[in-house]
């Protein structure tokens, strides 16, 4: 099949750029540990409220300025409703849903993942800057989806 010379150059540049881009993505994900949140843990969605640690959602300090946040996302809110940590704290979020699919997003950070019933989602973020961070649901979950939010205070 005949290809025009300019077209060969164009496609080679495109394919080369693409290959480089894919290599960078792989290095980023697997060598630098920045893969998207892909936790494999499961839970019975009908028994979330009686399964520890989600029966008592909240912050648990696990180290110096490091916390585990066990949270539930439900129609239409998050539990716990109030969380406070000192600036510079690292929080490992663990979130599940007792009902429909929800989203978990903290604008101005890279925390953004889906919450599926039957699964536990996890992601980690270090909050360096003090402020009142908004946590919102970014997956349509019903009539009250737009009020499903909470905050986390970093002092």
């Amino acid at each position: 099949m005949h290809l025009h010379r300019y077209e060969k150059i164009w496609l080679m540049l495109g394919a080369g750029g693409l290959a480089l881009f894919i290599v960078l993505l792989c290095v980023n994900a697997f060598a630098m540990g920045m893969a998207p949140p892909s936790n494999m843990e499961m839970i019975d969605p009908e028994k979330v409220m009686e399964t520890p640690p989600f029966d008592k959602p909240g912050l648990k300090q696990v180290g110096d300025k490091e916390y585990d946040a066990y949270m539930t996302a439900f129609a239409f809110g998050f539990s716990p409703t109030k969380m406070e940590v000192p600036a510079g704290s690292t929080i490992n979020f663990h979130v599940t849903s007792p009902d429909v699919v929800h989203g978990f997003q903290i604008p101005e950070t890279n925390i953004n993942f889906m919450v599926l019933p039957g699964h536990i989602s996890s992601a980690t973020h270090t909050f360096d800057k003090p402020g009142e961070y908004l946590i919102l649901c970014n997956e349509y979950c019903g009539a009250g989806h737009q009020v499903m939010a909470t905050t986390i205070i970093v002092k």
Binding site: F21, F30, P117, H119, A143
Partner: protein, 557 residues
């Protein structure tokens, strides 16, 4: 003016026979009826989200959002595509469709219209405010799912009609390569039928029994995987017919030739291969799928850059060679020779321009961890409004301006052409403002698919309000454009003067040899199957064997 001269000439081919034209028109007009309703719903949504109006108590944001998504993304596109492909197949195989193709065509139309009505009634009754992605465990009325299934099965029948025409042509022209338009139509349907199988499985074996209460719970992960197995190729089902117009019709409109027959076919084969095994890039932020499998889908997704670059090269090569032949000189002089006042060229060209940032945004969306910045934000909404809502839609509008009069035996008049230009400008400006606001807000974290909210006056959310008003203003311009479009198309269907309008089909300048392998379907379907098993075989097996406890149904609206 180029257009005026061309319209006065006798058209260089036999017009499409009545029976095929009626079938095609029946599809196209259902498409535009859905488009009109969807545009109204879309405009209302924009106004609500912009904080400009409030909806009356008998409806709500998510109900009209569902209507907008279903009618625009599923009904308008599918009906238009089926009608367009039938017309082009008739045009390039002698001007008519034979009995079997017509029978399949009408049977498909009846199923698709029935399915559409079932879905629309359940949405109007507020029994199906689950959006067009219908993620379980939100549970709509079973009739909503049955309607969707009928829509899909109807589109298969239409595909069988195109296959029947193709087989007949091959039998009558032994040893010859099929017409380019027909080849592309067949490739599009092969892709579509393979890609809709998983969603058919989801609807028939998961959603319908569960929504009827026959089984208590549903495997959420599997339902989402099956949905996105279909959901991404769906966007290529929108795009491929637009590419057909770009590769085959536009060169003729500007007075040029198909750049390369083989290359056009190769681009379509690449789209067939790499549209389907890529769904996890919509599920990058989900638990339950390992990072390794996500990466495999990301790589397969990004390969689609290659046929996109081929298409970009072909289009601009056609524009340049045609412009130079007409006397354009210098580095960019050929641009001046293109028919800028001919809406049949102008509308799809503006669409192509939108596709450049659209493609770049798509690479961002598909890129593993970068996706975390924009996932489920209104950036994504902005992205598909400049891809399907601008690149594809403007191409379909540009096609409609000649397709409808060609089918009704009327003329695309100067005034209709001029109104089409105005309509295109309104659409382009509206879409530019709306999608720019959406992309910007999305980067700041504003969620998609969300009613007007300030999150209790949180400063982050308050920062989005100005952009939301810009978005609403863009939506208003789009609605004006949509109304104008419907009026122009009504005029072209019923009132324009009788006469001939060309159905533009370009050919290559010299006879080109096309590698035979491009038409060996068992090879390509086999490769598609291989890629699908590679990308989905193990993950789906895992999702069935190690499934999370199932979910009961919920109605939260």
């Amino acid at each position: 003016m180029v257009i005026a001269r061309k319209l006065d000439e006798a058209i260089p081919h036999t017009p499409i026979q009545r029976s095929a034209a009626t079938l095609s028109l029946a599809y196209v007009w259902v498409a535009y009826a859905a488009f009109g309703l969807a545009a109204l719903a879309g405009m209302l949504q924009g106004m609500v989200r912009g904080g400009i109006i409030e909806l009356p108590s008998w409806t709500n944001y998510y109900q009209i959002l569902t209507a907008h998504g279903v009618l625009m993304a599923l009904i308008f596109t599918t009906f238009f595509i089926v009608g367009f492909i039938f017309s082009g197949v008739a045009r390039t195989t002698g001007g008519s469709l034979h009995g079997a193709a017509l029978k399949f065509g009408w049977a498909g139309w009846i199923l698709m219209v029935t399915g559409t009505l079932m879905a629309v009634v359940t949405i109007v009754m507020n029994e199906a405010s689950v959006l067009y992605t219908f993620y379980a465990p939100l549970k709509a009325s079973p009739y909503f799912y049955i309607g969707s299934a009928l829509l899909v099965v109807g589109s298969w029948l239409a595909g069988f009609g195109v296959f029947a025409s193709y087989r007949k042509w091959k039998k009558e022209n032994p040893g010859k390569m099929s017409p380019l338009f027909v080849f592309m139509g067949v490739t599009t349907y092969v892709m579509w039928i393979i890609a809709t199988l998983p969603v058919a499985v989801e609807v028939l074996f998961q959603l319908i029994p569960w929504s009827l209460g026959l089984v208590p719970t549903i495997n959420i992960m599997l339902s989402r995987t099956l949905f996105w197995f279909f959901g991404h190729p769906l966007v290529y089902f929108w795009l491929m017919p637009a590419y057909m117009a770009w590769y085959v019709c536009i060169p003729r409109i500007i007075g040029g030739h198909v750049f390369s027959d083989s290359l056009s076919r190769l681009a379509f084969i690449c789209l067939l291969l790499f549209s389907i095994p890529v769904g996890f890039h919509h599920q990058l932020m989900e638990p339950g799928i390992s990072a390794g499998w996500k990466m495999i889908h990301v790589v397969l997704t990004l390969i689609v850059v290659i046929p996109s670059l081929m298409t970009a090269f072909s289009m601009f090569a056609v524009f340049e060679t045609t412009g130079r032949k007409k006397g354009g000189s210098g580095l960019f002089g050929w641009l001046k020779k293109l028919p800028w006042t001919d809406v049949r060229f102008f509308a799809p060209f503006v669409g192509m321009l939108f596709f450049i940032p659209g493609g770049a945004g798509g690479i961002i969306n598909a890129s593993n961890q970068i996706n975390a910045v924009i996932h489920n934000t209104i950036w994504v909404t902005g992205h598909f409004h400049i891809t399907v809502g601008a690149a594809v839609a403007l191409t379909f509008f540009g096609v409609s301006f000649w397709l409808i009069p060609a089918l009704t035996g009327r003329k695309l008049t100067k005034i209709a052409n001029r109104m089409g230009m105005v309509q295109t400008v309104f659409w382009a400006v509206g879409m530019f403002l709306m999608s720019l606001a959406m992309h910007t807000m999305g980067l700041q974290g504003a969620p998609r698919r969300t009613d007007y909210t300030t999150y209790m006056d949180h400063p982050t959310a308050l920062g989005w309000m100005d952009y939301q008003r810009v978005m609403a203003f863009g939506g208003g311009l789009l609605f004006v454009s949509a109304v104008l479009l419907i009026l122009i198309l009504l005029y072209l269907t019923f009132y324009a003067p009788k006469g001939n309008t060309e159905y533009p089909i370009a050919e290559t300048e010299t006879k080109q040899e096309v590698p035979r392998i491009l038409e060996r379907w068992p090879v390509w379907v086999g490769l598609v199957a291989f890629l699908i098993i590679l990308a989905y075989g193990y993950p789906i097996m895992e999702q069935i064997q190690h499934q999370a406890p199932g979910s009961p149904p919920f109605r939260t609206w």
